[in-house]
């Protein structure tokens, strides 16, 4: 069982400390954590720091794994003009640092992931011919094929229609439960966050504002102060909280 905890974590962009002092409770196997905050709040920077792509103060504590590929990061930018098929691009993610040979086991895993994401029909299409939504699904497959224990997904649903958003978030929630992964998803849709997340982490101006149960974190005060909006939190008939926006706060 893997666990992740951030202790006073910060991240440098160049010489500037862009994210600072992020401390979370221990995030556990099977949890889906929504990372929310306005544009340029530091969500992507925090993900890159956790992955080790950026340097910074503080500690990223990993428990229960010695796998050097334990963390897989799905970047926000999924555009690519390489002359590769979708299948080759997923294989590429799987084979990094390994020999040229491709085993049946590698290919079977790719087939399974493509089937789970329902993208088999585009398997041998060129990357450059994909729509934005298809690229995001391929990017998710590339992250999953590395069989991570912790997955950081930077706005994986931003280019997807509502049906696919729900399908992907539902799929990731099931993957987290089934494979004991910790999944962190940067997301702007607060209602999707409320529906799927076990925890919500709020970033504002490079600092963590809150991290905890969705109903404790997503409050009217937080929405006004972080997002500068007037909103209500209302319960639906299924006892889920929903954000209803009334307008911007000035």
């Amino acid at each position: 069982m893997v666990a992740l905890q951030l202790q006073s974590v910060g991240a440098y962009h160049g010489r500037k400390l862009f994210v600072e002092d992020v401390t979370t409770p221990k995030l556990k196997s099977g949890e889906l954590v929504a990372v929310i905050g306005p544009n340029a709040a530091g969500k992507s920077t925090l993900f890159k720091r956790i992955t080790g792509l950026l340097k910074g103060p503080g500690n990223v504590l990993l428990e229960g794994t010695k796998n050097k590929n334990a963390i897989s990061y799905m970047p926000q930018d999924t555009s690519a003009n390489a002359v590769l098929t979708v299948y080759e691009s997923i294989l590429l993610a799987r084979k990094q640092g390994q020999s040229w040979g491709v085993s049946d086991q590698d290919l079977r895993l790719i087939d399974d992931i493509m089937k789970a994401l329902n993208i088999e029909a585009i398997a041998f299409r060129d990357l450059g011919a994909l729509s934005g939504g298809q690229r995001q699904l391929v990017s998710i497959a590339q992250a999953l094929v590395r069989e991570p224990e912790i997955m950081l997904m930077d706005e994986p649903t931003s280019a997807l229609d509502l049906h696919r958003q729900v399908e992907v978030l539902d799929f990731m929630q099931r993957q987290a439960r089934k494979r004991g992964m910790i999944v962190l998803i940067a997301i702007h849709d607060l209602n999707q966050a409320l529906r799927f997340a076990d925890k919500v982490l709020v970033i504002q101006n490079g600092r963590m504002r809150a991290c905890g149960e969705p109903r404790d974190v997503v409050t009217v005060d937080m929405l006004r102060e972080v997002y500068k909006i007037h909103a209500r939190i209302e319960k639906c008939s299924r006892d889920h909280n929903h954000v209803i926006v009334d307008g911007t706060a000035h």
Binding site: E88, S89, Q98, D111, E120
Partner: protein, 356 residues
């Protein structure tokens, strides 16, 4: 996702189709190798002095059975040129392929980034002024000057590309600026040159395989053989870099280190052949594009594909350069583009979606 999954596909269909595609690419590589062998054989058999094919084969297999003249023509004149065409074509094409890969730009090549122009300037400096950049024997003055200038240009591009905040587009623009700078410096030297020196400079800049000698071949081949294992070791990582820096980094690729290593090796791979045979512009740009269009950008196929397409292009050009006017061997730099452009156009027009 419902609209994507139009037809349910068997679970093993992806695997089987991938294996079939990989086999097809291997067959293409075998076909290119066979074409290269054929081209090499014709290059040896063809020339101003006309010999029967059996005489050429005899000269190759049993040199003592043919006259000294045939032996000298086949082994001392045609063989170095034919091998140099293959080695130089392969080197420039691989250098161009990896430049295009790490700079994410289809225009990158030793020619377009100013490396060939720098080499030409170095060579002209030696021919016109006899000024050595390094103290070397007079016979080595031209190639050594050309090599040093080519290396300086490549390292300049490399260090600029390492600076913080410099995009790959900026690097390509700087390379183009280098082309103009060195061309201006070359024109300045040509303006000052004596008539004899001027004609030597012009001939050098046209690129010619007739300058090939066995030591030059061994040196160029050694650099190529040094470079290939390094590129092969990083095949997955180099392919990942084509998906973008962030994506490659997310796969665990140390993009900065691979760029540094690759650029340093490219600098040798482009500077050495250019310093020996002069400016041959087209191969480094188009060789990789041909390989990309036929085989895609998985470096396990793209790398050998670039080697073969560059080698084949220059080998065929070597034959054409001897065939236009009987008895005259044209400088290969002139002929390369004339041979390659029609073929390249036909590939682009038949394969537009996979051009870049």
């Amino acid at each position: 996702m419902a609209e994507i999954a139009v037809v349910p596909i068997e679970a093993e269909a992806g695997r089987a189709r991938y294996r079939a595609l990989a086999r097809r690419k291997l067959m293409i590589l075998f076909a290119m190798t066979a074409a290269l062998c054929l081209s090499f054989a014709i290059d040896l058999a063809w020339g101003p002095a006309r010999y029967d094919l059996d005489e050429v084969v005899a000269a190759l297999l049993d040199p003592d059975s043919v006259s000294a003249q045939i032996r000298a023509v086949v082994w001392d004149i045609r063989m170095p040129v034919a091998i140099m065409a293959i080695v130089v074509g392969a080197s420039l094409s691989v250098a161009g392929a990896q430049m295009q890969t790490i700079l994410a730009n289809p225009l990158a090549s030793p020619f377009t980034l100013g490396i060939s122009a720098a080499a030409s300037f170095g060579a002209a400096l030696a021919i016109v002024t006899s000024v050595p950049i390094l103290p070397v024997a007079a016979g080595l003055l031209v190639p050594v000057n050309a090599f040093i200038m080519a290396l300086v240009a490549t390292l300049f591009i490399h260090f600029i590309s390492q600076a913080r905040g410099v995009s790959v587009q900026t690097v390509v623009l700087l390379g183009i600026a280098l082309v103009f700078t060195f061309n201006a410096a070359l024109a300045f030297l040509q303006y000052l040159a004596s008539e004899q020196a001027l004609s030597a400079v012009v001939f050098w800049t046209m690129g010619s395989l007739t300058k090939a000698t066995w030591p030059k071949i061994w040196i160029t081949l050694a650099v190529l053989l040094f470079a290939l294992p390094l590129f092969a070791r990083h095949a997955w990582a180099l392919t990942a870099i084509r998906l973008g820096e962030d994506k490659a980094a997310s796969f665990g690729v140390n993009v900065r280190r691979i760029r540094l290593e690759t650029m340093l090796v490219i600098s040798l791979l482009s500077a050495v052949p250019v310093s020996f045979v002069g400016t041959i512009g087209f191969v480094g740009l188009v060789g990789p594009h041909i390989a990309r269009m036929i085989l895609g950008e998985d470096q396990r196929f793209f790398l050998p594909g670039s080697i073969l397409s560059g080698a084949l292009l220059l080998s065929v050009t070597s034959i054409v350069s001897k065939s236009i006017i009987p008895g005259v061997v044209f400088p290969i730099g002139i002929i390369t583009a004339l041979v390659g452009v029609p073929f390249f156009f036909s590939l682009i027009l038949s394969n537009r979606s996979r051009a870049w």
